[in-house]
């Protein structure tokens, strides 16, 4: 498959599947009379697929905010309860949920958490936007998993057997890595460049034409969350750190200690949620 063909495949993607337990949890919530859009948002913002679908919708031509909205909480204010409810009721799920799907879900959620902490520490104005970028940075892997399942399996296998990074095998077999694939889809879905570039360049943040700082934070958080062993990114290797990117967002030792302490705490809080997902799955 070449790049043009891949692009054509991406063009046809209206929707991506997500984890069945998350969707059934949301469906239960929707049935509750006292539920609010904000409460639904708290669950949606933990799932990369639902979050990107929500952003796709709000940045679409009908809602009329092209490439403007980058966070779940802002999307919710604009979309409203009824639209969100419909999004949930009609969302598609993986027919067979694999352990690696849950692993990637946890990895994405953990990365988002780390991004949020670091963004706050660096006093970035809208830290929620950075954690959104972290949440959906591996969107390309979901695309592979659901649209090209055979390729995906082959890639995972080869990465395991040869001891390679997933993106190396992806490049070899498809000509592009999951970062570029995710970036292509995000662009097609009209998401803001503040999200597109960090997704596309999360392995090479210095190549991002803009928003290098967000890309660098996502890059570092991706590594950090693998290093602490939360979730599963698809291959067993901790990616190498880009030193120029690190210089850009460099944290002192004491800041780093603070980040790790806060991350530990937040990950423990998240575990209740991820356990629930695993048990139901």
């Amino acid at each position: 498959m070449d790049k043009a063909e891949l692009k054509k495949r991406l063009n046809d993607i209206q929707s991506l599947p997500t984890l069945p337990p998350i969707v059934s949890k949301l469906n239960e919530m929707v049935a509750d009379e006292d539920i609010t859009a904000v409460k639904l948002g708290k669950v949606i913002e933990k799932d990369q697929v639902l979050t990107s679908k929500l952003l796709k919708m709000v940045n679409s031509s009908f809602f009329g905010f092209p490439q403007r909205i980058s966070t779940v909480s802002n999307a919710i204010v604009l979309l409203g309860f009824n639209v969100i409810k419909t999004l949930i009721v009609t969302s598609s799920i993986f027919e067979v949920m694999q352990a690696s799907d849950v692993g990637l879900f946890e990895h994405s959620l953990g990365c988002a958490t780390a991004c949020g902490i670091i963004a706050k520490m660096r006093q970035i104005k809208n830290p929620e936007e950075v954690s959104t970028a972290g949440l959906i940075h591996d969107l390309g892997k979901i695309v592979l998993r659901s649209e090209l399942p055979e390729e995906y399996e082959a890639i995972v296998r080869e990465a395991q057997e040869e001891g390679l990074y997933m993106r190396q095998v992806e490049k070899k077999r498809l000509g592009v890595g999951h970062g570029e694939i995710g970036g292509m889809l995000a662009r097609q879905w009209n998401l803001p460049e503040r999200l597109v570039f960090p997704i596309e360049f999360h392995h090479k943040p210095e190549l991002a034409p803009e928003y290098k700082e967000i890309a660098a934070i996502v890059h570092f958080s991706d590594i950090l969350i693998r290093a602490v062993g939360f979730g599963y990114g698809g291959d067993p290797w901790v990616p190498g750190l880009d030193h120029v990117a690190w210089e850009r967002i460099k944290l002192s030792k004491s800041q780093m200690r603070e980040v790790i302490a806060e991350l530990d705490e937040k990950l423990i809080e998240l575990q209740d949620f991820t356990l629930e997902i695993k048990v139901e799955g």
Binding site: Q14, S15, T36, A37, K53, K56, M57, S60, S61, F62, F63, G64, F65, R68, I69, S73, N74, V77, L78, L79, G80, F81, N82, V83, K85, T86, L87, V89, T90, S91, S92
Partner: protein, 313 residues
């Protein structure tokens, strides 16, 4: 020439039937997979939806009620495809709030006629604002007058965006349109969340909106509207202006001067039973209040309590 979405398992999905519709200049998108179809409908609504009754997981009913309860999509005509048996036994129209039905056995000519009638009807009743798709002046007038006539005791709230004209001059019309759409969406969502279908939101035109809600909801609705507006407006301003806290543009006389960042003013006129009999009287009170609320800095609402009091956020 309309964009038509067809969501059926197989009714009207034959190639020749679709060609027939397309020959009339319609653009038809046919979907078997309901979930996918719905997402497409919501993110890019067609002019008319044809949906089959009895889809899996009750999705047909879900979708119809979601669309009809959405203030901005409620006017999109929906034609329900039913079986001959449904026609014989009758349907519960409250749970199927559709505009027309067609039998799955109908000829394509009949389908075409129904499509055209539905479209014509929707053009007749719609005075919706093209930008926000919200009801326009004649619907607003009718809705407020109805509320007064029935003595529902709602509060009528007049919303406008402060310094919108200089904003438009500086940031350009397309961003100005986005801000107007943003305010429309916020009003619709907050009103719906607080009072469901008891509330009404209309778009007078430009940066002027009107909504009415049960009197006791007026204050919490205004607070939420202002809260949401304040959270979103920074996305529509340049970072530089946000940091300064003001922007530079031209006033009505064409002089360059600085303006405070865009904010929202809401004048609230509670209409206790018997206090007003005509829409014009409500509007007059609102005009008086608007002057007061406009004189305040930032986003504010002002409730007419004769012994007036104000809320500020």
């Amino acid at each position: 020439m309309a964009r038509i979405a067809l969501v059926t398992s197989n009714a009207f999905s034959r190639q020749d039937e679709r060609l027939c519709l397309e020959a009339k200049g319609h653009v038809v998108s046919f979907k078997r997979d309901v979930a996918k179809a719905l997402e497409a409908i919501l993110s890019d609504p067609p002019d008319l939806l044809i949906i089959e009754k009895g889809l899996e997981r009750n999705l047909d009913r879900e979708v119809i009620s979601a669309l009809k309860n959405n203030l901005q999509l409620a006017l999109m005509p929906i034609i329900l495809v039913v079986s001959e048996r449904d026609i014989a036994t009758g349907l519960d129209w409250d749970s199927y709030q559709v505009d027309d039905i067609v039998s799955s056995q109908a000829t394509v000519e009949e389908l075409l006629t129904r499509i055209e009638l539905s479209l014509a009807r929707s053009h007749r009743v719609a005075d919706n604002n093209p930008l926000t798709k919200l009801p326009g002046n004649s619907s607003i007038l009718k809705s407020i007058q109805n509320m007064l006539d029935q003595g529902q005791g709602h509060a009528v709230c007049y919303v406008d965006i402060d310094n919108f004209k200089p904003y438009n001059d500086k940031y350009g019309f397309s961003r100005g349109d986005e801000v107007i759409r943003m305010v429309g969406r916020i009003l619709v969502n907050v009103v719906q969340e607080h009072c469901g279908n008891e509330g009404f939101v209309g778009h007078v035109g430009g940066d002027d909106f009107v909504f009415h809600v049960p009197k006791e909801e007026a204050e919490p609705v205004c607070q939420d509207v202002i809260k949401s507006f304040s959270a979103l407006i920074p996305l529509f301003l340049d970072e530089e202006d946000l940091e300064k806290g003001y922007f530079t543009s031209k006033d009505r006389q064409g002089n360059t001067r600085t303006f405070p960042l865009t904010s929202l003013s809401i004048a609230v006129v509670p209409c206790e039973k018997g206090r007003y009999s005509h829409y014009g009287e409500v509007a007059a009170t609102a005009a008086r209040l608007k002057k007061k609320v406009k004189a305040l800095d930032g986003s504010n609402y002002f409730i007419d309590r004769r012994s007036a009091s104000s809320g500020k956020s």
